[in-house]
């Protein structure tokens, strides 16, 4: 139910940001992409045809738009994008009335996306149509109006609609990933859009800056900074860019994660003599202490329903993942395999917790359900793979990898398959955090 309302709001926003000129849509959810036997959707994406009636377009904008859409669909991890070279001669320019679906099924496409571009005084109009090749049906037909040059935004809108039509969920196209780039003794939080474009340095504190955490409403980014020589927690408004210090107690002040309603921020503080987890009301700055243990308690992560909190504690001798109720009661241990399990991240669909664990002298990403059952190892290569963070759709996980002095930010499907590298370099990149769906 919540999801439906969310999708509705997203659709409403989509309507606000562009004008829908004509629509035929069947919002039909007919393939369960989370089923174990799920095969990627084979889809053919044609270059958008330029319509010559408006202002003469530069020749390749239809190709650029189609390329953006292909890259986005590929990043979602659930599509097999057919190579343009496999298309039969002349099929791309067939008019919608005379599409021969057999020309597409013969090359293995189950779905076909086609479109036309027109350029008018008000900008760009992209008409796109998605077909079910095997049934010979139109799944949606929609026209988007955009300012000329905003092809990436147009591509995100089309790709989101394709995903809604096939899965009922718009996916993660309108998201960003915040992460930390370390240079020498300094570090700063950067953001990267989902398609790995637009790298931005957000903090510029000339200090140590760590642990970026988005508020679920997309209003704030919280983080830890040593700007004043010691670790303190800041809240940055993403709208105004203003930063506010919210925790600067004696000792450690470490940023944890936001509550689902974005009103509270979990913290690790050592002001009461050892590292404990607290909940901070970001309006009133009222603090509530949640853990009482002589051990290290750190890295709290709220469950999507707000009822539970996962965290790391070494109260049993080594760092392990624990879960407690949101008021700090009923603490139970979740991980038992291995002697170093940290960085818990709760799936937005609930149920599963991703974390990093030490195995064969390497850190790898795992996921486990909140009762501690059904443990799955997700990464296996010879790098250290750390800091998992779920996408808003719950279908993907971003993480960072270090192999020697080489560093990567990658995403994978929630089952560990289909790893795609977003950014690679010699500068050290760590602690990726996936944003909510942004407007």
């Amino acid at each position: 139910m919540k999801n439906k309302i969310f999708i509705f709001l997203i659709s409403l926003w989509t309507a606000l940001s562009m004008v829908c000129l004509s629509d035929i849509a069947q919002a039909k959810v007919y393939i369960d992409i989370d089923a174990p036997g799920f095969q990627q959707f084979p889809i053919a994406v044609c270059d958008f045809q330029n319509n010559k009636t408006g202002t003469p377009p530069s020749d390749d904008e239809g190709v650029v738009l189609a390329d953006h859409i292909r890259r986005l669909l590929d990043l979602s991890g659930i599509f097999n994008i057919l190579d343009k070279k496999s298309f039969l001669d002349g099929v791309e320019s067939q008019t919608p009335e005379v599409i021969r679906f057999s020309d597409w099924s013969v090359i293995g496409a189950d779905f076909l996306l086609r479109g036309d571009l027109a350029f008018g005084a008000e900008g760009l109009r992209a008409a796109s149509r998605l077909y079910d090749v095997t049934r010979g049906q139109t799944l949606f037909q929609k026209t988007y109006a955009y300012k000329t040059g905003d092809l990436r935004a147009a591509a995100r809108a089309v790709a989101s609609d394709v995903l809604v039509a096939l899965t009922g969920d718009e996916g993660d196209f309108n998201t960003q990933i915040a992460f930390v780039i370390k240079k020498d003794a300094r570090s700063d939080i950067h953001t990267l859009s989902y398609d790995a474009a637009d790298l931005k340095n957000l903090t510029g504190h000339q200090s140590i800056v760590t642990s970026p955490r988005w508020s679920p409403d997309g209003q704030y980014l919280a983080f830890t900074s040593y700007k004043n020589g010691r670790p303190e927690v800041y809240l940055r408004s993403l709208k105004t860019g203003k930063e506010r210090k919210v925790a600067a107690f004696r000792g450690l002040n470490l940023c944890g994660s936001f509550s689902p309603d974005s009103r509270k921020l979990l913290l690790t503080l050592s002001k009461d003599d050892n590292e404990e987890i607290y909940s901070l009301d970001i309006e009133t700055l009222a603090l509530q202490r949640l853990t009482r243990s002589y051990a290290i308690d750190v890295s709290p992560a709220w469950s999507p329903d707000g009822r539970k909190i996962a965290f790391v504690s070494n109260r049993s001798g080594s760092p392990q993942i624990f879960v407690m109720d949101a008021d700090g009661n009923n603490v139970r241990r979740v991980t038992y395999e291995g002697n170093y399990n940290t960085s818990p991240s709760w799936s937005p669909r609930g149920g599963r917790i991703a974390y990093e664990g030490l195995i064969n002298r390497k850190y790898q990403i795992f996921s486990v359900d909140e009762e501690g059952n059904n443990l799955i190892q997700l990464t296996f290569d010879d790098a250290d793979n750390e800091y998992p963070s779920w996408s808003p759709s719950g279908r993907q996980i971003v993480f960072s990898s270090q192999r020697g002095s080489k560093s990567r930010i990658s995403i994978m499907n929630a089952n560990g398959l289909n790893v795609r590298v977003l950014r690679e370099g010699r500068e050290q990149m760590v602690m990726p955090s996936w944003s909510p769906r942004l407007k």
């Binding site: 829908c20 960003q176 993403l238 750190v298 790391v312 940290t342």
Partner: protein
Amino acid sequence: MKKSLTLIGLLLVFAFGLMILGGCAEKQAVVKDEPAQEQKVAPTQAPAAPVADDEAARRAKEQADREAALRAQAARDAAAKRNAAALADLNIQNIYFDFDKSSIRPDAREILKANAEIFTKNSAAKITVEGHCDERGTAEYNMALGERRAQEVKQYLVNLGVDAGRIETVSYGEERPADQGHTEEAWAQNRRAQFLLK
């Protein structure tokens, strides 16, 4: 239920879309790239003096004040330098920890005893104990572990008679390695407590 809700949603969306037909709303940039401005204290400017004589006298006085301030600053700098050099000559040694441990190792006890003696002799100086970790594991856990290491060292020094009020702790987690390497040797050098006297 699911289907009808979605349909209603879509219908509403389309109705809305038609309503605003022709008015293409602007796309919103989510992350405004305005860096948060630090408050900067502007250099105070003396108001212009109305009378020329006063102006000359004021300038002379200002010049004299400035020179005096510079001399005082130079003297302070020199003193601080002498003090820093003296403290650096004290040979305060780091101590090292085992992986994922904050307990004081037997080999560290002698070093802490020697350091405590130095701290007691230089009773005017403030002591900062920095806790550090190697790069393995999670940055947040390592910040907590670094704090633990610094606290353990502080407690050990207090037990040896150093005034607790003089000792501050700070954890740098894995963020300030002494050795930039990615080997066992580098890691052993980086799991440390470091001392700063001021």
